[in-house]
Amino acid sequence: MSTKFGRLVSLVYKRRFSTSTSIQKGGSEQGVKSLNLCSAINQALHIALDSDPRSYVFGEDVSFGGVFRCTTGLADQFGKNRVFNTPLCEQGIVGFGIGLAAMGNRAIAEIQFADYIFPAFDQASYLPWLGLIVNEAAKFRYRSGNQFNCGGLTIRTPYGAVGHGGHYHSQSPEAFFCHVPGIKVVIPRSPRQAKGLLLSCIRDPNPIVFFEPKWLYRLAVEEVPEDDYMLPLSEAEVIREGSDVTLVGWGAQLSIMEQACTDAEKEGISCELIDLKTLIPWDKEKVEASVNKTGRLLVSHEAPITGGFGAEISASIVERCFSRILDAIKSTVKY
């Protein structure tokens, strides 16, 4: 069994970007449309702006549609007072968003690439209130005794490798934000998930960093309901049932893991695949239940292994399922 498990790890390692998916056009059923992830995000933003007059979308170049075209058409429909470009200043963008959210508004900020989020890192801590991400956003609610919060703030940012981004357009910094109390971290795996989760994030009363897998913007296409729907946060999903090993991942990495599951099946290994969706606070119960069933866990993420969120999952599951674990937990990274 351990040999088989070792081979599975190497399968995950070997997978490169899949290019097999082609974009399908046109929806069949009424109310459902075939959309790519970028259009699904765009639709969610339309709904968010339409359903709440106190919501705003801003970031670098967003009124022109943004570099990935996720915000196309928003400025035309909702006006330049609600959808606007900011200067190139990430710390200012997040700080501004925290202030806007503290006044009871829904501030939807875009950081053009997750790689550019580091100047805003300090503000992130304010997110629980307003603070810049780490110091401001994350702790605003607590340190003001719940008088203020920046729960209306959602920071959208594309993350991950696309194969040609180089060092500063390919990183997966989710683990940094998972370390900050007061922020939620959400990563969708597909267009349908992206729309439902983004709407939940925008309406959730906590500051959220929403990482979008930029690799899937055009590549992933699926049937997406056209109406306004939300998917629950902090709820993982078993997307493939199995009995030999539990695989946990999130975002773009799941498509690679799905392929690995299929390959493993041919060799007689039955894999259970779980999409975590919300990294903080994550659904420990679902992962625990699955590991108790299979006795093995493999976590795979795009981010570097050392200090990655996979280590956090491994540690928690060892703590909870120690007696049940037959084989060592392994983490792996995609190159």
Partner: protein
């Protein structure tokens, strides 16, 4: 009440100011005249790209008296906090405002509670000026439930939502971009109010301040940047930390950059400023006049920077004795010549509003 439990057995009589505050409240202000009274500011304003506000400030006997009372209360409160800290009843970080009272009091006199104020960690007195109570202050300082942030924030994190006081922030300069967001919300809702974002001379060198200034100017936000220049960023004198210590002109010194070989910077981005005003931050009437001017100005034209020339008597925080980087003569010189409370005391006596004895009683 947690506070009284602590206070009553205390032989140190730490809460003396509290009892004097209570006796103050018994004094009626109604006997004082609210007739307009015009007093000149002690120094002229220095301006940059804007008109000079009139030096003649309209006030009244009642207002001058309330300035004296509020500033005295703040001074006593901070001294009590100092004692409580030394008695280990207040733990953690604590930054005192004594010396700078005129800024909080003068600003409040010029604006309404619908206007927002956001500041850094030296926030006790601003909280008080926005309508907070001493009980809330001391309970918060001591980590009690009755504190203004339920004891969760402590000295650096005072907030008062109903008073438009947005805190209370611990990272130097990080509150300033937040102020832009507040001002944007105000402008969007067209309610003719403004946001005052306060920061120190130390924070004036933070990069995010320039981001905030740029955003505010770009979008004409009703955002007023107030640099409380107490001349020391922690233990570093301003001239050791800033090439241009003329904080009211910040952003407009791009040609100077050229001389130092940084001409490659996009000058246009630094030259967009802004309207600026240097104020004697030890003169409560000057502060009031400047803030009134700034509010009207910002609603019409967008952001303006006010630099308040002020001074803190205590060290930066409780772990700083405040005497290693400046001379005792310097501190006592400011106390004798520029003290904001003494200035109002003189006015009250000159205009025969109060007697020396009455003012002593208040103290």
């Amino acid at each position: 009440m947690a506070l009284s439990r602590v206070a009553s057995p205390s032989p140190l009589n730490l809460l003396n100011p509290l009892s004097s505050y209570l006796s103050l409240r018994r004094r009626s202000l109604s006997s004082l005249s609210t007739e307009p009274l015009t007093v000149d500011t002690s120094l002229p304003f220095t301006t940059h790209r804007c008109d000079e506000p009139s030096r003649a400030v309209e006030t009244s006997a009642a207002e001058l008296f309330s300035f004296f009372r509020n500033m005295t209360l703040m001074r006593r409160m901070e001294i009590a906090a100092d004692s409580l800290y030394k008695a280990k009843l207040i733990r953690g970080f604590c930054h005192l405002y004594d010396g700078q009272e005129a800024v909080a009091v003068g600003m409040e006199a010029a604006i309404t509670r619908k206007d927002c104020i956001i500041t850094a960690y030296r926030d006790h007195c601003t909280f008080l000026s926005r309508g907070g109570t001493l009980i809330e202050v001391f309970a918060e300082l001591m980590g009690r439930r009755d504190g203004c942030s339920k004891g969760k924030g402590g000295s650096m994190h005072f907030y008062r939502k109903e008073g438009g006081f947005y805190g209370g922030h611990g990272i130097v300069g990080a509150q300033v971009p937040l102020g832009c967001g507040l001002a944007f919300a105000q402008k969007y809702s067209k309610d003719e109010t403004v946001t005052f974002s306060l920061y120190g001379d130390g924070a004036a060198n933070q990069g995010q301040l320039f981001e905030a200034l740029n955003i505010s100017a770009l979008w004409d936000l009703p955002s007023i940047f107030v640099c409380e220049n107490n001349h020391y960023g922690m233990g570093t004198a301003e001239w050791r930390a800033a090439k241009s210590p003329a904080y009211y002109k910040r952003g407009d010194y791009a040609p100077g950059l050229k001389d130092y070989g940084i001409a490659a910077l996009p000058l246009s981005s630094l030259l967009l400023w802004q309207f600026l005003l240097l104020v004697d931050g030890m003169d409560v009437l000057a502060v009031k006049q400047a803030c009134k001017f700034a509010k009207e100005f910002a609603l019409k034209n967008g952001p303006i920077i006010l630099e308040m020339d002020t001074y803190r008597y205590h060290g930066h925080s409780m772990s700083d004795p405040g005497s290693t980087y400046r001379t005792r003569d310097e501190i006592s010189g400011v106390r004798q010549e520029r003290d904001p409370i003494e200035r109002v005391r003189k006015l009250l006596l000159v205009h025969e509003i109060s007697t020396e004895k009455e003012l002593k009683v208040i103290e």
